[in-house]
Amino acid sequence: MSTESVAVTGPASLRRAFALQLRVLHALLMRELITRFGRENLGVLWMAGEPMLFTLGVATLWTLAGLVHHASSIPVVAFAVTGYSSVLMWRNSASRVASALEQNKQLLFHRNVRTIDVFLTRIILEIGGATCSFIVLASFFMFIGWMPMPVDLLKVVTGWVMLAWFGTSLALAIGAGTAFSHVIERLWHPTAYLLFPMSGAAFMVDWLPKGLQKTVLVLPMVHGIEILREGWFGNVVPTHYDLGYMAACCLVLTLGGLYLIHEAGRRVEI
């Protein structure tokens, strides 16, 4: 056994702080993966398997319900895969982060582990899982011809990255909130439930009456889904979005979330 002691974690250079953060995130990710998915049967593959099952279920339901607008030429499965995958991006990370602190408080006894690391771990897992699920399902449905090839891949990626940013910033804000009050977690779940039908997953903004379009476009994720679908399906349906507005919302949530998490660190009681 080596006897040299671990490095003092005093004021560190930015590079050392970054290396430390990566190390802690790696440790937390490995821990969380085994905790959530175990080693039995599919193990870590459930990270993508779980969201895939959800998306397939929703795609089936929407097909049976004939959800797609009658004037649209978008195949319903393609519509469901793009729509529900987007929901996974913002809803699941926030929901997982909402309970993260309560379940992982004891980890803070390791001084290197900070509240933000606990949150980031769950965000990375959720967004990673949703992304894998989306790629696998979209590839499969393109292969069997139920989904067209994307018209503008760069725009698809832009939409996806924006949704990932929104999911991250929302999760940070919700997570910070739970450090101040447990009420936030209770409020988040009904809010997420109510936001789902308004999030643009199940409709194109253009299908709505003019008055309602403005209201719905207040929600940042609607813009992300519109970008994603414009990239995938081209100009089959006119789209409505404002990349700048979505970015501004994400920026405010990110900065607000980071500030609140910093403040919360002083309040956490174990």
Binding site: S5, V6, R23, M30, G38, R111, V113, I270
Partner: protein, 225 residues
């Protein structure tokens, strides 16, 4: 050098703020040993949590010029789905050391046998305590935080813990929190008593222990012995 400067900690309760620590200051040199006595509820665990960095003080500063351990033998962060080995890997990753050379020591000390590679959920209480202690020893810190109450086990286990800690790591600093004056007398040159939120220093361990005994008699109703 570890430096605790004017540290206070208050918690909010339903009946307003409750001050647990009130302007506590002390310093610990590299290799220095300090014992802290205090009856139940005196704020010993709070002080340990603050020094460990798990919670922040309400006011005051804690400067760590050396690496400080998490509270020794603390097993609360064990994830029950993880095996003993997984938990070793976890702490090694967090502290940036290689886990492989540490496996033999942990296996030998914990005497877990094949259970080392079984989920912690299947461990007995004794197995958990041994694992928690071994993991604390697997990372080499400059200063160990020891809450004696956490290291519960039979005489043999105590003996092995004391050997690992006080013989093999005699050169390290430690802060020892306990009810047991004998442990402090054996291993510490300095002793303090935590009383009503204040940390009181004494010229000798005996003087500290006499004062500690007196505080026990003050209000015997809430004292558990």
């Amino acid at each position: 050098m570890l430096s605790i400067e004017h540290v206070s900690k208050a918690y909010s309760t339903r009946h307003g703020r409750h001050k647990v620590l009130d302007d506590v200051s002390f310093q610990l040199e590299r290799g220095g040993h300090i014992g802290i006595l205090g009856r139940n509820g005196a704020g010993k665990s709070t002080l340990i949590r603050l020094i460990a960095g798990a919670e922040r003080p309400t006011s005051g500063v804690i400067r760590r010029g050396m690496s400080v351990s998490w509270p020794l033998a603390f097993g609360g962060a064990f994830q029950t789905h993880l095996t003993g080995l997984d938990n070793l890997k976890f702490v090694c990753r967090v502290y940036g050391v290689d886990y492989r050379p540490r496996i033999p020591f942990v296996e030998q000390f914990t005497e877990l046998g094949k259970y080392f590679r079984e989920p912690v959920a299947r461990y007995s209480h004794g197995m958990l305590t041994r694992l928690a202690f071994a993991l604390s020893m697997a990372i080499e810190f400059d200063c160990f935080l020891i809450d004696e109450a956490m290291v519960v086990g039979d005489a043999r286990f105590h003996e092995r813990c004391h050997y690992e800690l006080f013989d093999k790591r005699r050169d390290r600093a430690f802060i020892l929190v306990t009810h047991d004056a004998n442990v402090i007398k054996t291993y510490c040159r300095n002793a303090c008593v935590l009383h009503e939120g204040q940390l009181l220093a004494f010229p000798s361990v005996d003087a500290a222990y006499d004062f500690y005994l007196a505080t026990l008699k003050e209000n015997p109703v809430i004292v558990e012995q």
